[in-house]
Subunit: 182 residues, 2 copies
DNA sequence: TGGGTCATGTAACCTGTTACATGATTAG
DNA sequence: CTAATCATGTAACAGGTTACATGACCCA
């Protein structure tokens, strides 16, 4: 249940609400793990039932009341456990509706398929840009923490993304070339 | 609902049973789209309710009876529609429990993390080998069909996989180097 | 002053995963 | 002869997606 553990990981840095977690999640983990807002709330209450978290309800005027979650010892143990056991870890997963369609695109015209792959390229370029923005966020965090090493692993994940999109673009170019030669 | 459409795509080649579809799926699409056996059966019956498929029950001795599905005109239309509209297509998705853990691995020892990434490398190498096997399957299919172009797009998806794993290995090597320098 | 967006979430539905059932047949 | 695998699936549950709710505040 990686989503739960991602949330535990964030809550291990600081106590916070579902709303804030949702934002942090989207700022940091979102590129390699997506989570819906509603999913985050649901997982949080489940984790509270498990005893991994406790919550405190804060009454607010002007804003809806909120629930601040904090991780318990049992939650820390669970997080630790997840980090340290790699049985049942899905090391590699690839899932692409884009490729699924391409697979079945034999009947479509050459030109349609070329356009399709070109559209893909432009999505990759967009994604790269947004990763560059993440790069800036990482740099800011590192500075704020005063320790450039603090964000080392975060940075490596962003680099992964960067290399991934580069590879996708390279692949797309060679496919387009081959299609044009057909 | 890409799984439904993947199944439609396969059924567009030939009428067959859930059992056989499951096998074809795993041989061809599995590398970029996973489906559980049970999921395939469920989707098939839903698609029959939608009118995209019809089925015929074949009574067997020695083997459990089976249901042979065939695609209807309405199913063909649906498939065509899916292939030709890219609104709502998820062009890029990346999801990696491996990276999620790495993100939170600051507290772990340098050596543990190096080992972790090395394990990842070996999974990538395995995956590459299994893609090479797929390459052989593709070649056989092409020959069987007599037309090397028939499997062109299939081949391109396999090449994508190949380049992907290459990239992963390259990334892993640079990360390991950086970790060793820490 | 009317339409977004912020700050909180909840409900319903659809998809994916895990576990199980059963009677041949094949492998060791 | 016994255990695994084949050839069919079904059931239950967990995870992911889409749609909606509400009362402030901010912008044009």
């Amino acid at each position: 249940m990686p989503l739960k553990h991602g949330l535990l990981g964030l809550l291990n840095y600081q106590n916070t609400t579902g709303y804030e977690l949702n934002k942090s999640f989207k700022e940091s983990l979102n590129f390699f793990w997506k989570a819906q807002t509603s999913q985050i709330y649901r997982e949080l209450s489940k984790m509270e039932n498990e005893g991994w978290l406790v919550s405190e309800r804060i009454v607010q005027h002007k804003r809806p009341n909120k629930k601040v979650y904090s991780i318990t010892d049992s939650g820390k143990k669970e997080l630790d456990n997840w980090l340290n056991t790699n049985e049942s870890l899905e090391w590699i997963t690839l899932r692409s509706e884009f490729l699924l369609k391409l697979f079945f695109s034999d009947e479509k015209s050459k030109q349609e398929n070329i356009d399709y792959v070109k559209q893909y390229k432009s999505k990759c370029q967009e994604a790269m840009l947004s990763l560059e923005a993440t790069g800036a966020i990482i740099a800011k965090h590192s500075e704020a923490l005063g320790d450039p090493e603090k964000a080392f692993y975060w940075e490596q994940t962003a680099i992964f993304g960067y290399m991934y999109y580069e590879m996708c673009l390279k692949w797309a170019d060679t496919v387009i070339m081959k299609m044009e030669e057909k």
